[in-house]
Symmetry: C2
DNA sequence: GATCGAGGATTTATCTGACAACAGGCTTGC
DNA sequence: GCAAGCCTGTTGTCAGATAAATCCTCGATC
């Protein structure tokens, strides 16, 4: 005899996504109660612990709030969609694309150098180790919108510096050498372009810049890249959630 | 007969914290394997599903990475501590305090007004509803470091506008009226102070400002507050994690 | 001796079923 | 009318079992 069409095995990750979709389509408003664990089990399948893990993730996201003995409820964050939060790690190239920009890349300089003390510390370099210093300007429609100063651990790139194509996304270039970073520690501040940069590259009209300075790490731990990106103030704004 | 000193009931939240502490004290480096579920159960108590829920949270935090059949491993984020990430919701007053600033509060203006269209939309106001407009300057050691423009839903405050003490943290003031916001949707950009503000309050030397513009929501859903904070560019920088 | 495969050990992933704790409404007894 | 107690629904935790992935060992085979 055929056994019941046994509830398919369902993973936490999949459930997480399905619940998000379900909530999005449900038209629930903040403060409304969401389906109970039992209902979700009915509708989506999976065992209770698995469903609970998925719900716990939503709770940590700030999308729902659990009340012991009562139920789970949608919070304000549940109805807010942040399109491309700055807290998601992605390359400036990608970021710009989603701003509707189609950047042209000008390489101002590439060289192998002895790093300054703060860079050496951020990249966890031993004495004497060098970095690749990359200075680029990104134009949108002939207008400079982004000045980037990158320092890359020399040992992340196995080729000669001048053999590498630096005109694309830096993250993807690193990925090709098996050194893709997956997260970063970042700081944001507002300032002008450094005087010497503005003078050397005719950027005196760049105006106030939104600077994102970040150290990017590989999944396995070690830092790979230190990036300073000056975003033209009147062209960029970044979104995020605080909770 | 006495039953065995039954393993105490242990909650997910508690386990989450204990594991974080355990990892912090363990001296593990990124890429190292962390104790298995079985070991954690041994050392911290709790049932396996509970432990797994706590570990799942750490995984979502980006602190650890699970590999089926191998174990769990510390990631780079596990060893990075961001002191006060901008992604944590707190009042500017608190934020400044942790910068080492002891702000003096100057109220430039308080009034009840008909909001502009964008504010009305952000605060989800019906036609005709009004807001409290609050304009403040924060000084550190006689130097202006922060210009704040707040719009508060009129129905969040049950007193007369001039009876309220606006000199403290706005979040706490709202809390006193039972309208404490708990999260916000924020945007950051770089610009100068608006011309009229700079002119009216003698702030022409403020320089480039880091602007955080946010709409803050109550736990139950509705927006309460729209805030625009101009942070003096050479005094402020905010940290966060990207992953 | 080297190589490949089977099998076992370890670890994470999921499932099943149960009990505990809390909230809220209902009944019942006074 | 009111309060204590009970019942039900919900989330929180527990215990043990099975599934799936990875890695190591050991033995057979060439």
């Amino acid at each position: 005899m055929e056994p019941e069409p046994k509830a398919r095995r369902v993973g936490t990750k999949q459930l997480h996504e399905e619940i998000v979709r379900l909530l999005a389509e449900s038209g629930l408003k903040p403060g409304d109660q969401i389906p109970t664990e039992a209902e979700l089990k009915e509708r989506l399948g999976g065992a209770r612990p698995t469903i609970r893990e998925a719900l716990k993730l939503l709770e940590q996201d700030g999308v729902i709030r659990a009340e012991h003995g009562r139920g789970r409820f949608l919070t304000a964050a549940g109805s807010i969609r942040i399109d491309r939060p700055i807290t998601t790690f992605e390359s400036v190239t990608e970021m710009a694309r989603h701003f509707g920009y189609n950047l042209v890349n000008k390489i101002l300089s590439v060289s192998e150098e002895r790093p300054a003390a703060d860079i050496a510390k951020a990249l966890n370099l031993a004495k004497g180790e060098t970095v690749i210093r990359l200075e680029r300007l990104r134009l949108n429609d002939r207008e400079p919108v982004l000045y980037c100063l990158d320092h890359i651990r020399r040992d992340a790139i196995s080729d000669r510096v001048f053999d590498v194509d630096w005109s694309g996304s830096l993250i993807e270039t690193l990925a090709r050498y098996g050194a893709r970073p997956s997260m970063s520690q970042a700081r944001v501040r507002a300032t002008f372009l450094p005087d010497d940069v503005a003078a050397r590259h005719d950027l005196r009209d760049f105006g106030p810049a939104l600077v994102i300075e970040e150290t990017a790490y590989r999944d396995s731990g070690p830092p790979v890249l230190h990036a300073i990106d000056y975003h033209r103030g009147d062209r960029y704004a970044f979104s995020f959630l605080r909770k």
